[in-house]
Amino acid sequence: MNPVLAADITLPHINYGAIAPILILLGMACVGVLAEAFLPRTLRYPVQVLVSLVAQVAGLATIIGLALSNYAKKPTLTAGDALAVDGPGLFLQGAVLVLGIVATLLIAERSVERGGAFVAQAAVTAGSEADAEQARRQPSQTEIFPLSLFALGGMMLFVSANDLLTMFVALEVFSLPLYLMCALARRRRLLSQEAAVKYFLLGAFSSAFFVYGIAMLYGFAGSVKFHDIAVAAISSGKSDLLMFIGLAMLAIGLLFKAAAVPFHVWTPDVYQGAPTPVTALMASCTKVAAFGGILRIFYVAFLDSRWDWRPVIGVIAVLTMVIGAILAVTQTDIKRLLAYSSIANAGYVLTGVLAMQKDGISSSLFYLVTYGFTVLAAFGLVTLVRDQDGEATHLSRWAGLGRKAPVLAGVFTFLMLSFAGIPLTSGFTGKFAVFSAALGGGQTTLVIFGVLSSVLLAFPYLRVVVLMYLQEPAADAPTVAVPGALTSAALAIGAIVTLLLGVWPSVLLDVANSAAQFVG
């Protein structure tokens, strides 16, 4: 070893306290992997559920502690400026974890489907005799828990990364477990594997664009830190063209994860094919993470060049809202309907983001949380309507559910009303927040399209409600499973938060407002 070398390298200061939430999640994921290796089969499920929930609750407690100890007011950079611990970062990390806990409850449920929603051994060829046998008898694969912890840890890292390289690594850390989790459904395994292949290939395609964007911005600014890019945008000697090529490529990678319209084609297929608890995780947490990254890049690195790129992203937002709503009208499968609705909702968040001022940040943060809870509860209810082939997701099968299962139909109707933006639900307060922020930011056109799109989107939601209450149930109508304790808890949390944030939005909006300051 070169003696000179050892002398002139000093490890940058790492504020372990400030990044503890991420470390807890990734560390506990490793504990989960070890538990998988060393524990007897019968013990694995309770231990994994415990590890998973303890990790997330501990992470959440740490985040609250950090927020109370004024990290939100006095943000810091740590680990060689690779990570930013600031208000939006902590809020988004907390949002990922709160939604992650509810999604974990859905993932851990084992009484609705005997043995859980996941395949017992993914390596057994789908459709073989051994596969039919394991589908009947064996309980789910428990690796799903450490994988989901890795995904959540990666998302938390993604929303607080302060340079493009860390962001890229975090993007992959949360994407790879999601690709795997998509392939692990217990029923309809071929559909699930196809969803995983599709998600994987398109995801890898989009991260190639992300890498090329990083290369262009590095060429432009000579560094990949957001702050340096922001400085270079004002004072670089190089042509701006390089920066715009880089920004466009980067935006493709990010908007893919957020499912905005030209890059949304994977969403319905993947949402339909993936096991429903994983779909719930993707619709809530991945969306939070993707928009966290978009917010940080737009507000920290490209704030000063916003006049040049805002119209382009505005067009994407309009397309996302309108096309998502139009295609939702034509759907006949409840999971695909929710997928297109999640696309349209990505457009609403993008509208809030494009306000490009402080309440644009806070309203987007607020909207992400409200939407996350509602969509988790909606997918949780989808897992309950079953026939002998598993979940009955075709809309015609939902006819007459209002009579067979009044409670389920009532809760689902409430969630649909929230999606449609009826007052006294969180859907209304969220849309109100993002649209008024966008108006304040001078984005009137976007708001007009947003309101039109939400009116249009109310049709498919109300159609489901009408179907449930006004139609006769078919003779072979699916049964409604009695939710186990975990699913009941998840549904209750989702529905109560939807109501609470609709009636009393200031609880969360105030937190979001006080957190809405990025560190540069």
Binding site: L190, A208, V211
Partner: protein, 99 residues
């Protein structure tokens, strides 16, 4: 001649990869095209490292390689599992999922 030529070459390779993703139907070939796009990104990073006179670009190319290696393991495992199910690796065979 300046190192800009390398960048134009990398742009060409990136686009060849993108075309491969768009027109090929075999999942493994599509994945190889994605790898070509990542390589084009790496060439751009290394060339910019030389233009900017800093080693950061080379480090980033190294990270991209690590990520690509992990991605290949996961991707090929998923493609293998679906292939075992249907004994074919064509993307268009994914007929169950329609628009």
């Amino acid at each position: 001649m300046t190192p800009t030529y390398y960048l134009v070459l990398s742009a060409a390779l990136f686009c060849v990869g993108a075309v491969g993703v768009l027109i090929r139907r075999n999942a493994i070939v599509v994945f190889m095209s994605v790898e070509l796009m990542l390589n084009a990104g790496n060439l751009a990073l290394v060339t910019f490292a030389r233009i900017n006179g800093s080693l950061d670009g080379q480090i980033m190319a190294f990270f991209v390689m690590v990520v690509a290696a992990a991605e290949v393991v996961v991707g090929l495992a998923i493609i293998m599992s679906i292939f075992r199910t249907r004994r074919s690796a064509s993307v268009d065979d994914s007929n169950l999922l329609k628009y």
